[in-house]
């Protein structure tokens, strides 16, 4: 074994190699060049001992890659996620070893749960001291193992270029996800004189075509003839870019569509065939439709428990068709009657073609057979619409979202945190297009909203990006306001200030006899002053009139704005299906 001290020393004093691409270069340069080769021009991070060589190269390559210095590594990963969710591109982040890596874990898990493509570079202590409890050593590979699509501990600098290339392919291909590259410091210093080998590459870059024509034909026939069909669509529509195919298919069939929380924007909320969101806080019409449907066509969804409630009584009368890119998603929770493993877009396009082949006659007959279904659907819609509470004196949270919708002409990209405000934003901001809605659905990560909005705003400089956050979640990552200020990212942050950890308070009110255990946030900082301390515009509204003017004033402002919108303290999100219960136990108000 080599002497640890000498190894560490040589790492610390490693010299810069000459820089042209074909010449031998140190690992850190191989890394940065590989990032650039894979299309990275934006990276979020925060330096530390284990990544000093990397930061040295990032400095030298600063004209090709812009590094955004966050104030907490969780923010770096959420920002990279926001960037990825807004564009569909792979987001990139770099953090140091030990605490840098553990701070990044929440973001990585958030991306994993929502299938967001990321490449996260984590520094690591030098290879020879791994396993000795060295300063700032944690087993990042082991810690992140269950929350990544793939991860690496780099052991030879000659593998690095191939690893980075593969990491980007894996992150973006098939069902996307985060990939972590744990990079020991000595590797970033080692001189690379050429690649050692190319890695076995399991992930193909192209989305799988839809080749199962037999199943497509079966599904097409079912769709044409179904009397009570419902499309239940999720994040797969967004990832796959299948929104137009979905609209065309639904219109051809005159079949209703209900998106999940992650599928919002995948089908225009205002479309006449849209039933609105389904699930725990979904619309009455959407949930009733699923429970009475005879054909449930699930596309790019995973039968999440927040959607299905009690699984045994979910869509009890329906023949279930499940279309998903990930074979392991099929039958994971609910066994479908018919399944098709395919990316959503080619699958829907194949269905369109198959339906066209069958001619207009059967299509018209099918539509006629669905007239009764539409009567029922309209009945549900009209009997229990989503109601926007309004008041002359206090600001109702639903009203905030409606006002925001009006003030932004329905065009803003809405990024949320997690809690009641998230559900109200989902319910009351009608989305027109995919990637207009960015939220942490699977992990439900408080603190996601602000930094994710920062990443989205960077990716979409021409658009208005609004982070809708709670007074609780805002305080988990508000340090990133200074990142927005530093880089002139004109972020808009709307704090729905109800003085509570509202969603938890609602459950305590409804299911725990109003025992408000540890949810009171009435002692909070003055958010306007806080915003001003960061150098942002701070605006407060406590009445409906103030709300309208504050929104206008903030949207006109060119820089960062923080709205402290003081809303009704004890407002509840309705409808709600209590966790794990039958849809029919939906509580309407």
């Amino acid at each position: 074994m080599r002497d640890v001290a000498t190894v560490v020393e040589t790492v610390e004093t490693a010299e810069l190699s000459d820089t042209s691409a074909n010449k031998p270069m140190r690992g850190a340069e191989v890394l940065v060049r590989s990032l650039i080769r894979n299309g990275v021009d934006t990276i979020f991070g925060l330096p530390g001992g284990a990544v000093l060589h990397i930061y040295d190269e990032l400095w030298r390559f600063r004209d090709e890659i812009t590094h955004y210095l966050v104030r907490h590594e969780q923010g770096a990963v959420h920002a990279a996620e926001g960037y990825a969710r807004a564009t569909g591109k792979v987001g990139a982040a770099v953090v140091t070893s030990g605490p840098g890596a553990t701070n990044a874990v929440t973001g990585i898990a958030t991306a994993y749960m929502d299938s967001i493509p990321l490449v996260v570079i984590t520094g690591q202590v030098p290879l020879p001291v791994i396993g000795t409890d060295a300063f700032q050593e944690v087993d990042t590979f082991g810690i992140t193992l269950p929350i990544v699509k793939h991860n690496y501990l780099v052991r030879d600098v000659r593998d690095l270029a191939a690893i980075v290339d593969e990491a980007f392919r894996i992150a973006a291909s098939g069902k996307p996800g985060p990939v972590v590259i744990d990079l020991p410091k000595d590797i970033t210093a080692h001189i690379c004189d050429g690649p050692r080998r190319c890695h076995y590459d399991a992930a193909s870059a192209a989305a799988p075509a839809c080749t199962d024509t037999q199943t497509v034909d079966i599904i097409a026939d079912r769709l044409i003839n179904a009397e009570r069909p419902v499309f239940y669509v999720g994040g797969g529509i967004v990832t796959s870019g299948a929104a137009y195919a979905l609209i065309e298919l639904a219109e051809k069939l005159a079949a209703p569509v209900t998106p999940t929380l992650m599928g919002l924007g995948g089908f225009p909320t205002a479309h006449k065939l849209s039933l609105g969101m389904l699930g725990m806080h979904g619309t009455y019409a959407a949930n009733m439709a699923v429970s009475e449907s005879d054909l449930l066509v699930a596309v790019g969804v995973r039968f999440d428990d927040r959607v299905t409630g009690k699984l045994a009584t979910f869509a009890p009368q329906a023949e279930i068709i499940h279309i998903d890119i990930d074979p392991s998603n099929i039958g994971k929770v609910k066994q479908p009657h018919i399944s098709l493993v395919s990316d959503a877009k080619p699958a829907l396009e194949a269905l369109l073609a198959a339906i066209a082949e069958r001619g207009d006659g059967p299509l018209a007959a099918g539509k006629a057979a669905r007239l009764d279904w539409w009567k029922k659907l309209s009945g549900w819609r009209n009997s229990v619409p989503l109601v926007c509470e309004t008041s002359e004196t206090e600001i109702k949270p639903q009203q905030v979202i409606e006002e925001l919708h009006r003030a932004t002409n329905g065009d803003a990209v809405i990024v949320t945190d997690v809690g009641q405000h998230q559900m109200w934003a989902a319910q009351f901001y009608p989305f027109k297009r995919t990637r207009q809605w960015i939220t942490s659905g699977g992990l439900g990560t408080m603190g996601f909203g602000l930094p994710a909005a920062l990443g989205a705003q960077l990716a979409l400089p021409e658009q208005t990006v609004v982070a809708v956050v709670g007074d609780g979640g805002f305080q988990m990552t508000n340090q990133e306001l200074i990142t927005a200020i530093q880089y002139n990212i004109p972020l808009k942050v709307l704090i729905m200030n109800n003085g509570y950890l509202g969603m938890v308070r609602q459950w305590q009110e409804m299911f725990y006899d109003r025992a408000y255990s540890e949810v009171d946030l009435s002692i909070s900082p003055d958010f306007v002053k806080l915003a001003e301390a960061y150098g942002a515009q701070g605006l407060r509204a406590t009445t409906p009139a103030e709300l309208t003017s504050a929104l206008r004033q903030g949207l006109e402002h060119k820089g960062v704005t923080v709205w402290d919108i003081v809303v009704t303290k004890e407002e509840n999100v309705f409808p709600i299906i209590p966790a794990g219960q039958d849809t029919r136990n939906m509580i309407l108000k």
Partner: protein, 170 residues
């Protein structure tokens, strides 16, 4: 239902923990696991025996196949197969009678005595689950000090292979 899964995985550090983690994080129990090199450089075969109905096994296999470094995952038990395990058994042999009786059992089970002292023996036995279990059961009365088992390895029979080859061409 007991199932034997055969997984072809890259011989790289960490890849085995990925597979094992997949089982534990989803609450699937591993009864035995064994890993060894294959004919192909850089690839190992991992044989895992697990409990679960057909749907669970299918789910496990799909999850395994999703891993970037897994090339193949199949249930050997879904077709005719041969399964073997080896056990090393440290058993008391206190009297000449006991020694003779153990020797007798060893012959019947085609096992092997691999070490011996005046009052103990180490016996090596291999075979399918039933055979090894029964052999150990019969040695119990002598008093056993330790049993070490390898876990199972399994391979589909040549007939099974032919069957699938025929199916493919048909």
């Amino acid at each position: 239902m007991r199932n034997t899964l055969s997984i072809l995985v890259a011989d790289e550090p960490g890849e085995l923990s990925r597979i094992v983690g997949l089982f534990s994080s989803r609450g699937y129990n591993i009864e035995t696991i064994s890993v060894g090199k294959t004919l192909e450089d850089g690839w190992s075969r991992c044989t895992i025996v697990t409990e679960g109905d057909a749907a669970i096994v299918e789910q496990i296999l799909k999850q395994c196949e999703r891993l970037a470094r897994v090339r193949e995952a199949k249930a050997v038990t879904s077709q005719p197969h041969i399964e073997r395990e080896m056990a090393l058994i440290d058993v008391n042999a206190l009297t000449p009678d006991d020694r003779a009786e153990i020797k007798n059992l060893v012959d019947i089970f085609r096992a092997k005595i691999v070490d011996i002292t005046h009052d103990r023996m180490i016996v090596e036995a291999s075979g399918n689950k039933e055979k090894v279990d029964r052999f150990i059961g019969l040695l119990e009365s002598f008093g056993m000090n330790e049993v070490v088992r390898t876990g199972y390895v399994a391979i589909n029979t040549l007939m099974a292979d032919k069957g699938s080859a025929l199916q493919q061409t048909a």
